[in-house]
């Protein structure tokens, strides 16, 4: 508009390809920062203080001890973020979930135990059969291989757990550690994921981990 163009899009089209790209990138940055109400991009994240982390873990243990007895009995020496969950492709009766572990953590952490938590809504017509497949990326390309397949019977509403320790440990030697979980129910049984998409009912992985110890050589 400042250049006298009648429409906002016309001005962009009049720029040379290089200038057009720069203008669009600047616009994208400005747009995201403005919507997040940030004057500038945040500086590189720093890990939270160990004291604050332990306090948060203690609070979490107190809140969850009723729902998950035995979970988080002691503070865990891990560095967040350990993983990010992302919903992948899905159909009406199957869904894929991607658990991406940060590479820095994967390189310096040893997984002692990992458990996948899945929430089932009340089936209402007897036991609901659910197939859980753990998929791993193939040696090349986007193909995946089935590392394990488990069939569960959901009797009533609640959390079901599945040991995924071996699968997670085997991922940690890879460049981009990512665990893909495929959930499948028979056709006509609805989605295997909670239909209300409530954060508190989304699947998650609890991992008990410890920092890898470095081997030291002593010379006398």
């Amino acid at each position: 508009a400042a250049q006298g163009w009648p429409c906002p899009a016309c001005g962009v089209a009049a720029l040379s390809p290089g200038a057009q790209r720069d203008a669009l990138l600047a616009l994208a940055k400005q747009n995201i920062l403005a919507k997040l109400r940030l004057p500038a991009r945040p500086s590189a994240p720093r890990p939270p203080a160990r004291g604050a982390l332990l306090t948060a873990l203690r609070r979490m243990r107190a809140q969850r001890s009723a729902a998950f007895p035995g979970m988080l009995r002691s503070p865990l020496p891990f560095t967040p973020p350990l993983l990010v969950l992302r919903a992948g492709s899905s159909t009406s009766h199957s869904a894929r979930l991607h658990f991406r572990f940060s590479q820095e953590v994967a390189g310096s952490t040893e997984i002692l135990r990992a458990t996948l938590y899945l929430w089932w809504a009340a089936p209402g017509r007897g036991a609901r059969p659910v197939t859980v497949r753990l998929l791993q990326p193939g040696p090349a390309g986007p193909d995946v291989t089935v590392a394990s397949e488990t069939r569960l019977e959901a009797q009533s509403s609640g959390w079901t757990t599945l040991d995924v320790g071996a699968a997670v440990r085997s991922l940690f030697g890879q460049d981009a550690p990512r665990l893909t979980v495929e959930l499948e129910v028979p056709e006509g049984w609805g989605s295997p994921l909670p239909s209300n998409h409530s954060d508190s009912h989304w699947p998650f992985v609890v991992a008990r981990a410890r920092a890898r110890k470095s081997h030291r050589l002593h010379r006398r």
Partner: protein
């Protein structure tokens, strides 16, 4: 909506992807890896404004007929977003907290003439 192809002159949606790695933002935005911003470009001659499919709605079509009949029709119409969707972001804020947010109307899904 129409997607722009090679040599498109009429109003269409041009795909544009901002790779967060390329602009050095991958250290504070965890997910997604980029932003499918997209934008609208192209001509909107008067006879196109109000054609169902390119126009946003029945109301747009009626308004265009009214405008065409008035002197204001000479102003013409603009190629603008007619459908948008939100962008979900997972990022570190200034205090290094991990925040998940959905910013509405960030991704242009289709374009049309006003």
């Amino acid at each position: 909506g129409v997607d722009c192809g090679a040599g498109s002159r009429m109003c269409c949606r041009q795909e544009f992807f901002v790779d967060f790695k390329e602009i050095g933002w991958e250290d504070w935005i965890i997910q997604p890896e980029g932003y499918h911003m997209n934008y609208c470009a192209g001509l909107c001659p008067l006879h196109v404004a109000g054609i169902p499919g390119l126009a946003a709605s029945f109301h747009t079509a009626v308004l265009n007929r009214v405008k065409a009949a008035s002197a204001a029709a000479a102003v013409g119409s603009c190629c603008v977003p007619t459908q948008r969707r939100p962008l979900s972001l997972l990022y570190y804020d200034r205090d290094s907290n991990i925040v998940k947010t959905d910013i509405p109307d960030m991704i242009v899904d289709s374009c049309g003439c006003t």
